[in-house]
């Protein structure tokens, strides 16, 4: 991939900002860990999220970055007075680090959800869970991406 000239790459229709950024052709609007950290701080209101209680299921190696299965599960009672209200998923090296935010209620029964996400390159995915009591829990996982998500 790195041997292709910029023009060839565009002709091939692989005009993927994320991938061009990886290969050092500039132009990429890569966010970086700092923006992700800022967004997490905004989510927690400056509180430090504790490690634990959050199970994060992602493949160690994702061959195709445009479909990466993700499952999040938070160990919580989901009672009316103590439940997980929000779960934020961040991919720090995506063009925009925010991936998805799940909202749960006691009617969810379990604070667990699965979806499929895009990852532009190998990176650490972070999830932060917020409880109705204002506690924050977090977990992270490194995913190696063989072919970038290209945002498409």
């Amino acid at each position: 991939m790195a041997k292709l000239s910029r023009r060839e790459t565009l002709v091939l229709g692989a005009g993927c900002a994320a991938l061009t950024a990886v290969a050092g052709w500039g132009e990429g609007a890569q966010a970086g860990p700092r923006e992700a950290a800022d967004l997490i701080a905004k989510f927690t209101g400056g509180k430090t999220a504790q490690k634990g209680k959050v199970a994060l299921d992602l493949p160690e190696i994702a061959e195709n970055g445009s479909i990466v299965p993700l499952s999040v599960s938070v160990d919580a009672p989901m009672a009316a007075d103590n439940y997980v209200s929000e779960v934020l998923v961040m991919a720090e090296k995506n063009p925009a680090p925010e991936v998805v935010k799940f909202n749960f209620t006691p009617m969810s029964g379990k604070a667990e959800a699965s979806t499929r996400i895009r990852l532009a390159e190998s990176q650490t995915v972070t999830v932060v869970a917020k409880t109705s009591k204002g506690e924050f829990f977090t977990n992270q996982k490194l995913v190696k991406v063989t072919v970038g998500g290209c945002g498409g």
């Binding site: 565009l10 005009g15 063009p95 909202n103 029964g109 699965s114 990852l119 945002g151």
Partner: protein, 107 residues
């Protein structure tokens, strides 16, 4: 969005059961990062919100960014205490809202 969303919801449950729900809608989820062959950015067009309610009360919501893969799929759970109707909605960037519903009976 010519095709109806695909849903997997049990038709029956026992009172207090936590049931598994799976949803999938066909959508390109254009991220706004890609370029066409002339080098022009293809404008973003995604489904930015998915909600599920049961008898009018919120169960699960997903606020999506372009990093959700095409044809957004979700698996989540709901605790059912009474018979009723699950309503699902998907909101597109262009304002289009696709809805679907499924009934569940307590046995």
């Amino acid at each position: 969005m010519a095709q109806a969303p695909r849903l997997k919801v049990p038709e029956q449950a026992k009172k207090g059961d936590i049931v598994e729900i799976k949803t999938l809608i066909l959508h390109v989820m254009e991220s706004g990062q890609r370029k066409d062959k002339d080098g022009k950015t293809i404008p973003r067009k995604i489904i930015n919100k998915f909600t599920c309610t049961f008898n009018g009360k919120p169960v699960f919501t997903a606020n999506m960014e372009p990093a959700i893969a095409a044809n957004p799929y979700f698996k989540f759970f709901a605790k059912v205490e009474e018979s009723g109707t699950f309503k699902f909605s998907w909101t597109d960037d262009d304002g289009t809202v696709t809805t679907a519903e499924r009934k569940i009976a307590i046995t």
